[in-house]
C-alpha cells in the first residue's frame, strides 16, 4: 500500500472527521482556532500525546506496552523521592530518566530475549512498576519543587510553545523519519509483519525489540517528569490508566493491533481528532467521563467501520455477478 493509497483510505477519513469537528467547534466558539487555545489543547494531554508517538513504534512492531503509565509514575516518584532526600534536581531528573530506561530494558529483556508475550510482561510491569513507585512515595504527595522545574511544564519558550510541546514536535519529526525513511523503521515494519522471516534475513530482531522497549521506557519517564512539572507535585497514583488513552490514540490512527501496518501521520491525525473532540465536548459542557466513553466508542468504531464496509462491499459485489 503506497502512501497515497493510505491517505485516500484511513488517514483521509481521519482528516475529514477532524475538519468536521474543528468546523463545529469554531461555530461554537470563534476563538477556537486561536493560538492560545490550540496550545492549551495540547498542553492538557501533552504526556499522553508524547507516549502515543513511541507506542506507535511498539505496536507497528507487533508488540504492546501496557506499562507506560506506570513507568511515568515510577519516574516521577523517583524524582520526588530523590528531591526530598536533598539530591539536586538536575541529578534527580537524570536518575528518573535512567529508572525509566531500566524499566524499559527489563521489559525488553523478558520480551526479546526470553520470548514472553509483551501483553503479559507489560501487564506485570503495569502492576509492578506502579508498586515500586508507591514504595518510594507511599501515600504522600510530594511537591515544593524549584520554580524553574515547575515552570518547565507551562512556561512558553519559543513563541507560545512550551518545553513539552517542543519535545512533542521534535519527537514527532524524529519518529516520523525513523519509521518511514530509516533502516530502523523498515526493520520495525518487517518484524511486525513477520518476525521469523526477519530473523532468517539476518535482522537482529531481539536487538530491535530491546531498543524499542528501552526507548519506550525512557520516553515514558520523560513524560512522567513533564507531568510532575505540570502538576507541581507527585503522588503514587499519578497517570493511572493513561495507557488506555495512549493505545486508543494509536489504534484510532489506523495502526493495526497485529503489527506491521500504520503510519505516524495517521497517529498524528488521530491525536488531533481526539484532542478536538475532547475540547469540543468540553465547550459543550460534556463531562470528562462521557468524553472517555466517546473515545472508547471511537476506538471500537475505528476497527468496526472498515470491517462493516468490507462486508457490505463483498455482499454488493457478490450480488452483481
Amino acid at each position: 500500500m503506497t502512501f497515497l493509497d493510505r491517505l485516500r483510505s484511513w488517514e483521509g477519513l481521519l482528516l475529514a472527521v477532524l475538519i468536521a469537528i474543528v468546523v463545529m467547534n469554531v461555530m461554537r466558539s470563534p476563538y477556537y482556532l486561536g493560538v492560545g487555545n490550540i496550545v492549551n489543547l495540547f498542553q492538557l494531554s501533552i504526556e499522553k500525546v508524547i507516549l502515543a508517538l513511541i507506542m506507535t513504534l511498539i505496536i507497528v512492531n507487533g508488540e504492546i506496552d501496557l506499562s507506560v503509565a506506570s513507568i511515568m509514575g515510577l519516574a516521577a516518584c523517583v524524582l520526588a523521592f530523590l528531591f526530598q532526600a536533598g539530591v539536586p534536581m538536575p541529578v534527580a531528573i537524570v536518575v528518573a530518566l535512567l529508572s525509566g530506561l531500566a524499566a524499559g530494558l527489563f521489559n525488553g529483556f523478558w520480551i526479546a530475549y526470553v520470548g514472553l508475550p509483551s501483553l503479559a510482561v507489560t501487564l506485570a510491569g503495569l502492576i509492578g512498576y506502579r508498586g515500586v513507585a508507591r514504595i518510594f512515595v507511599e501515600d504522600r504527595a510530594i511537591g515544593g519543587f524549584p520554580d524553574w522545574f515547575n515552570t518547565l511544564g507551562q512556561q512558553p519558550i519559543v513563541g507560545s510553545l512550551t518545553v513539552s510541546i517542543l519535545i512533542f514536535v521534535i519527537l514527532f519529526i524524529v519518529i516520523a523519519i525513523t519509521l518511514h525513511s530509516s533502516a530502523f523503521g523498515r526493520l520495525v515494519y518487517v518484524i511486525g509483519n513477520n518476525a521469523q522471516a526477519a530473523r532468517y534475513s539476518g535482522v537482529r530482531v531481539k536487538l530491535v525489540k530491546m531498543a524499542l522497549f528501552a526507548a519506550s521506557g525512557t520516553v515514558a519517564a520523560l513524560a512522567g517528569i513533564l507531568y510532575a512539572a505540570r502538576l507541581g507535585s507527585v503522588r503514587g497514583d499519578m497517570a493511572t490508566g493513561f495507557e488506555l488513552d495512549v493505545i486508543t490514540m494509536v489504534l484510532l490512527g489506523g495502526v493495526s493491533i497485529f503489527g506491521g501496518s500504520g503510519t505516524i501521520v495517521g497517529v498524528g491525525l488521530s491525536i488531533l481528532v481526539i484532542l478536538n473532540i475532547r475540547n469540543g465536548m468540553g465547550l459543550a459542557s460534556i463531562t470528562g467521563n462521557t468524553q472517555t466513553s466517546v473515545i472508547g466508542a471511537l476506538l471500537i468504531l475505528s476497527v468496526l467501520a472498515p470491517n462493516i464496509t468490507q462486508a457490505v462491499t463483498l455482499k454488493f459485489k457478490g450480488r452483481k455477478t
Binding site: S182, A183, F184, V190, N193, Y200, S201, K317
Partner: protein
C-alpha cells in the same frame, strides 16, 4: 513411468466395480473472484470406490472447486448433486451432514485437545455431555481399524505430521464419510509415510468411499488414482482413466503445450574447493556430517522429511548453530553462530517456507529484496535511498522474469512461483558464494519450476556453490553433481552423479532396499 509396482493390480480391481450412479456430480459450475474467473463451466462426476485425482498448476481452479464442494464458497452458476439429488452446501457443517469431508495439506487439529477429542470434535450426534471413557474407546476402535498405533489420550501437540494425517483420516472415517477430499495430503510427508497414507486410502476405497485427490506430485497421482482430471485456467481440460493417461500427456494438458520432463542439468566445470565441513553436528538434530562443496557445484541433499537436511542448512547459515564439528570456508576455519555471521561469510539460505520464514507479505517486492543488506541502501543519515532500492529490484525483475507490473507491489499479491523468485532475488542480491536452497520448487507450478531449475544451472555456471535440499527426488537427481543422503540425522552416503539413481538414493535414505521398503511408491 512404466513400472508402477505391485500396488497397481489392486487399484485396477477396485475401479472395475465402480457403480454407475455418481455419489457426487458437479454440473457447469462457475465462480468468479473480482477480476479472476476462478472456475468456468466445470462438470465432474465422482463415483463410490474410486480415487479421482485433480492435477493443475497453481491457480488452475482445483482449490476453488474443493472449497465449493466443502461449502466454503458458493458457486455463481451451476449445480451440485449428491446421489443424483441437487444440493446446496452452505457451510462446513452441512458438508459434513452430507458425508463430505476434507483433509488439507496442514492437518487441522487442535494441539491442546487429545487425539480422541480431535477425532470426534465436529460430531453433532454425540450429545452435549462428553463421556470420556466411551470417547477414548471409540477412538481406539477407529484407529485400530485403520491399523494405526497412536495413544488416543495424548495431546495432538507434538504428533508427527504423518500421525496427524492419520488422525485426520480417522476423523473422516468416524464421520461416515462418503466423499473424501484430500488437498495435497502428501506435501509434507516422507516417502515412507506416503506409503502408509496410501495404504489407508486404498482401504477407504475398498469400503466404497469416493476420494478426490489433489496433488502436485504427478508420480503419486499415477500411483494411486483411478481417474485423472486436469485443470487449467479455471477450466476442466481432460478427464482420463488412469490406464489411458500418461504423465507426459497430463503435463501437456496442465501447461497447455508439450513440455519435456525434467532435463538433466548440464554439468558445469567444478572449481576450487569452497566449503569444507567435517564432523558437523547439532545436538538432537544431526551429527557427523562431513562434505566438501566446490565452486560451480550443485550438491543435492536427499532424505526423508526430518532426516536433518534442513537442520544442516540452518547450522551452516547460523540460525541454529552447530554444536560440534568444523566449518572451513576457502580453506580457513570459520565460526557461524548467527545469521549475520553467515551472511558476512557470503553464505545464503533460502528457506523452504516462504510464508512463515521467507517473506514479509504485505511489504513491497523491492523492500523484501533489499532486506538482508539494507545497510548498503542507506545514505549517511541512515535513511533508505528508495530509488537505489527500486533499481536493484528492477534488475532482478528482469533477470528472473518476476511477473509484476511494478516492484512496489506487495509480495502477497504475487503467485507462489513469483514469490519464490523474489526469495531467490533477495539472496542473490547478497552475492553469496554458498547458496543453500531449501525446497526451492515446493508448491510452485510446472512452468515456474522449470525457470527455477534453469536459474540454478546459471548460478552454478557463475561459480556459486549450491546446496540443493529437496524432497523431490527426480529434481535432486537431475540437478545435482553429487547427492548427499541423510537418514535420521546421520549422513548415509555421498553419491557421484553416475552412481546416484532412485534405487541407490532411496536405499540409503531408508536404510533398506527400495522394493522392500515401500512397494513401489517412488516408481
Amino acid at each position: 513411468m512404466s513400472d508402477r509396482g505391485p500396488a497397481h493390480s489392486e487399484s485396477s480391481a477396485a475401479s472395475g466395480i465402480a457403480p454407475s450412479v455418481p455419489v457426487l456430480a458437479v454440473r457447469n459450475i462457475a465462480k468468479r473472484f473480482g477480476a479472476t474467473q476462478a472456475l468456468e463451466d466445470v462438470s465432474l462426476e465422482l463415483f463410490p470406490g474410486e480415487v479421482h485425482a485433480l492435477l493443475g498448476e497453481n491457480g488452475a481452479g482445483k482449490s476453488t472447486l474443493i472449497k465449493i464442494i466443502t461449502g466454503v464458497h458458493q458457486p455463481d452458476r451451476g449445480e451440485m448433486q449428491i446421489d443424483g439429488k441437487p444440493v446446496v452446501i452452505g457451510g462446513a457443517a452441512e458438508a459434513q451432514r452430507l458425508g463430505v469431508a476434507a483433509i488439507y495439506q496442514e492437518p487441522l487439529l487442535f494441539p491442546d485437545l487429545d487425539v480422541a477429542e480431535n477425532i470426534f470434535v465436529s460430531h453433532q450426534d454425540r450429545g452435549e455431555v462428553i463421556r470420556w471413557g466411551k470417547l477414548h474407546r471409540d477412538a481406539e476402535a477407529i484407529l485400530a481399524e485403520l491399523g494405526v498405533a497412536i495413544d488416543v489420550r495424548s495431546a495432538a501437540r507434538g504428533l508427527t505430521f504423518a500421525a496427524q494425517q492419520s488422525v485426520e483420516i480417522a476423523k473422516a472415517i468416524s464421520l461416515k464419510v462418503r466423499i473424501l477430499i484430500m488437498d495435497e495430503p502428501t506435501a509434507s510427508l516422507s516417502a515412507h509415510e506416503v506409503a502408509q497414507l496410501f495404504r489407508l486410502v486404498r482401504e477407504l476405497r475398498a469400503k466404497g468411499v469416493a476420494i478426490l485427490l489433489v496433488s502436485h506430485r504427478i508420480e503419486e497421482v499415477f500411483e494411486i488414482a483411478d481417474k485423472v482430471t486436469v485443470f487449467r485456467d479455471g477450466r476442466l481440460i481432460s478427464t482420463r482413466k488412469r490406464a489411458d493417461a500418461t504423465t507426459r500427456g497430463a503435463i501437456a494438458d496442465m501447461v497447455g503445450r508439450e513440455m519435456g520432463l525434467l532435463e538433466p542439468r548440464s554439468a558445469t566445470t567444478r572449481g576450487e574447493k569452497l566449503l569444507s565441513v567435517a564432523g558437523l553436528g547439532r545436538e538432537g538434530k544431526f551429527r557427523d556430517v562431513s562434505f566438501d562443496l566446490h565452486r560451480g557445484e550443485v550438491l543435492g541433499f536427499a532424505g526423508l522429511i526430518g532426516a536433518g537436511r534442513t537442520d544442516i542448512g540452518l547450522a551452516l547459515f547460523g540460525i541454529e548453530p552447530a554444536t560440534s564439528g568444523t566449518i572451513m570456508l576457502n580453506g580457513k576455519p570459520v565460526v557461524v553462530k548467527t545469521p549475520r555471521q553467515g551472511m558476512d561469510l557470503k553464505i545464503a539460505y533460502v528457506s523452504e517456507d516462504r510464508r512463515q520464514l521467507g517473506l514479509s507479505m504485505p511489504q513491497s517486492i523491492s523492500s523484501n529484496i533489499t532486506l538482508p543488506i539494507l545497510k548498503r541502501y542507506l545514505n549517511r543519515f541512515w535513511l533508505i535511498r528508495g530509488s537505489q532500492e527500486r533499481a536493484t529490484a528492477e534488475i532482478f525483475r528482469k533477470r528472473l522474469a518476476i511477473r509484476t507490473a511494478t516492484v512496489d507491489l506487495a509480495v502477497s499479491k504475487l503467485s507462489g512461483g513469483n514469490q519464490q523468485k523474489v526469495m531467490l532475488s533477495k539472496w542473490l542480491n547478497t552475492k553469496p558464494d554458498v547458496l543453500i536452497l531449501d525446497e526451492p520448487t515446493r508448491g510452485i507450478d510446472v512452468g515456474a519450476k522449470a525457470e527455477v531449475h534453469a536459474m540454478i544451472g546459471e548460478l552454478a555456471a557463475e561459480g556459486i556453490g549450491i546446496i540443493l535440499i529437496s524432497s523431490d527426488l527426480p529434481e535432486v537427481l537431475m540437478m545435482s553433481d553429487r547427492v548427499l543422503v541423510m537418514r535420521e540425522g546421520r549422513q548415509m552416503a555421498i553419491f557421484d552423479r553416475a552412481d546416484a539413481n532412485q534405487e541407490s538414493v532411496m536405499t540409503a535414505a531408508m536404510g533398506q532396499s527400495l522394493s522392500q521398503a515401500i512397494g513401489g511408491v517412488v516408481a
